[in-house]
């Protein structure tokens, strides 16, 4: 610690250069914090206690292939199944195709399988009794300023009605509230419409469903139940693949994009650039201090202590910038989530992200400082003092 003032003073010897390098490091770690939140958000999707007890059954071929409704009754009879429901992706947008709405056509028992979604009995009854009724998540309702009693138009990106129009009308009869905001934020953005109305209205793929959702009696029996459900359609033209909700969500997201790979690639490129940038700063900083380092060695600082001081300087540079960067990310993430109107529900920077971030700071700091530190350690005093 007694060398800290010396390390600090050396670091800020060229204030402008150090501040500019710090800004780059802050930007890199701010990006790290944000992208890690995105990655965590995707990784956490479907991870909940209730989710662990649910299985999703979709077509083995692709998630856009539908399954016959007749499977519903058969799945309900599989040993270990508590209850089963189904859903169709509606693909609605409100007013503008960019205003995508997570809309699903579901039967009356759908919410029985989702105890983490709260809705009043009266609203649920109204949903069942109103052919064009819709239940909307509270975040979604807030986003478009919808309230119970409103009639809202949605344009399906996929399904037309029998006249060929993709414009559908719905009557909002209730508001959905997720009881666990951390894992269930998605439900607050959902738009549920009656499957019967949907199936009667669209001429396409009638009598089929997008996927089934099953709640098992015993979580430990989930694998066996999944195999039994898939056995129902084995060797048919609609073979199924049943997975846990978490695996299904991950698989579905992977079909959209491999978020982990994308985030990893971006961060890899950012940190590689940072490595070159801060490495250059450290090389310059040490090169222009050649005679000062020679003086330190002259008055008795050993090669190792000089090595340690240069390494400490580069680690300090990275840690300073990194902590500010991730600190900023913790402030920015809630603002991004709020600003997205509920479309994004990013988790705040958690302990594991902080730990990973600090490890990266130290690692990059050591890598960046190693070459200049070694050259400082090996510096020949006589040559350096003679400015050779």
């Amino acid at each position: 610690m007694k060398f800290l003032h010396l390390v600090w003073a050396s670091l800020f010897r060229r204030k402008t250069r150090t501040v500019l390098t710090l800004v780059s490091i802050i930007a890199a770690f701010l990006l790290f914090g944000l992208l890690d939140a995105v990655r965590t958000s995707f990784a956490q999707a479907g991870q909940s206690a209730n989710g662990a007890a649910r299985l999703q059954t979709g077509s083995k071929l692709s998630f856009i292939q539908t399954l016959p409704l007749s499977l519903h009754a058969q799945i309900g009879k599989v040993d270990g199944v508590k209850n089963a429901t189904y859903a169709n992706w509606f693909g609605g947008a409100y007013q503008d195709p960019h205003n995508q709405v997570f809309s699903f056509a579901v039967p009356p028992n759908y919410l029985d399988l989702y105890p983490e979604v709260a809705v009043s009995e009266a609203e649920r009854k109204a949903f069942v009794e109103t052919r064009t009724g819709a239940l909307v998540g509270e975040t979604l309702a807030k986003r478009f300023n919808w309230k119970v009693g409103d009639r809202v138009p949605l344009q399906s990106q996929i399904f037309p009605d029998k006249q060929g129009s993709k414009n559908w009308q719905f009557d909002i009869v209730g508001i959905l509230h997720s009881t666990d905001k951390k894992t269930g934020g998605f439900f607050d953005q959902m738009f549920l419409l009656n499957w019967k109305y949907f199936d009667d209205t669209t001429p396409y793929k009638q009598g089929t469903v997008g996927w089934y959702v099953t709640r098992v009696v015993d979580v430990n029996q989930a694998d066996r139940v999944a195999k039994a459900i898939d056995a129902l359609s084995a060797n048919s033209d609609h073979e199924t693949r049943t997975q846990t909700e978490q695996a299904a969500t991950a698989s579905w997201m992977k079909q959209l994009a491999d978020i982990g790979l994308i985030v990893g690639s971006i961060m890899g490129a950012v940190f590689f650039t940072l490595l070159l940038l801060s490495g250059n700063t450290m090389m310059q900083a040490v090169r222009e201090r050649t005679s000062e380092i020679a003086v330190l060695k002259t008055i008795g600082f050993s090669g190792r202590s000089v090595l340690a001081m240069v390494l400490a300087e580069s680690v300090l540079l990275l840690v300073l910038g990194g902590l500010v960067g991730i600190g900023l990310a913790t402030l920015v993430i809630p603002a991004v989530s709020a600003g997205s109107g509920g479309m994004l529900n990013l988790p705040s920077v958690g302990a594991s992200s902080w730990a990973l971030g600090v490890t990266l700071m130290v690692l990059i700091g050591v890598l960046v400082g190693l070459l200049p530190a070694l050259s400082a350690m090996r510096l020949n005093i006589v040559d350096a003092l003679a400015r050779r």
Partner: protein, 229 residues
């Protein structure tokens, strides 16, 4: 008076590419404890090389150097660094202060290698600055000081750990006449009043007059000795 420095058959050869340049040839020298010795000679005569070897900054190619009875030519780099920290103070022509540190912090630098507490380090540095007449400039950075003041800070840094030996390489080479005389007067006071043994390289005959003896080097050999009147 016993010898502080004993040099026997000292040689130094530098390799510049494929060429070998013998800078010092079989030099023998003894410096008494408490002496003030000036080394003079033309450029390339080997005086700075000899000073570097006495100060333990470089190792000889042949011969031996004992300082205070210790064969420093046999010490390994780590031990030599510790020896320098404890036994030698260095004064350079261009002061070589850390530009980002205050005078006080510059003087404290050698004490960072000791086990002294922060308050003791501060106290000692203050005394050293007082000794060189710069107590009121403790918080100033080198750029805020004149050349003579900077050199006095560098002398305070050299004496702060109370070494027996001071090696000075052209300490007045970058100073005006008045500042040079102040610095030389200070060195003489350190020699006479505090018993410091001083070896000083200089080109300036007037500076050499402050020393007790002057040795002349030419082409790596001691050629003449002058004793102060």
């Amino acid at each position: 008076m016993a010898n502080l420095i004993e040099i026997r058959d000292l040689s130094k050869v530098y390799e510049r590419g494929r060429q070998k340049v013998e800078v010092l040839h079989h030099v023998d020298l003894a410096v008494e404890q408490g002496d003030f010795l000036a080394l003079m000679g033309p450029s390339g005569s080997g005086k700075t090389t000899l000073l570097n070897l006495i100060g333990g900054l470089d190792l000889p190619s042949g011969g031996s150097i004992s300082v205070g009875g210790e064969r420093i030519d046999r010490l390994k780099p780590g031990a030599l660094a510790k020896w320098r920290a404890a036994k030698v103070g260095f004064v350079f022509q261009f002061y070589n202060l850390m530009p980002m540190l205050s005078a006080q912090r510059n003087v404290e630098l050698p004490l960072l290698l000791t086990k002294l507490s922060a308050s003791d380090r501060k106290k000692r540095a203050s005394i050293a600055l007082q000794l060189v007449g710069l107590a009121d400039r403790a918080s100033h950075k080198p750029a805020e000081l004149s050349g003579g003041q900077q050199q006095r800070v560098s002398i305070a840094r050299a004496i702060v750990s109370d070494p027996a030996l001071l090696v000075c390489d052209e300490p007045t080479g970058d100073l005006d006449r008045q500042s040079a005389e102040d610095v030389l007067g200070l060195l003489r006071a350190l020699n006479r009043d505090h018993g410091k043994t001083i070896v000083m390289v200089t080109h300036d005959p007037k500076a050499a007059e402050y020393a007790n003896h002057t040795l002349h080097l030419d082409k790596g050999t001691l050629v003449e000795q002058t004793v102060a009147a």
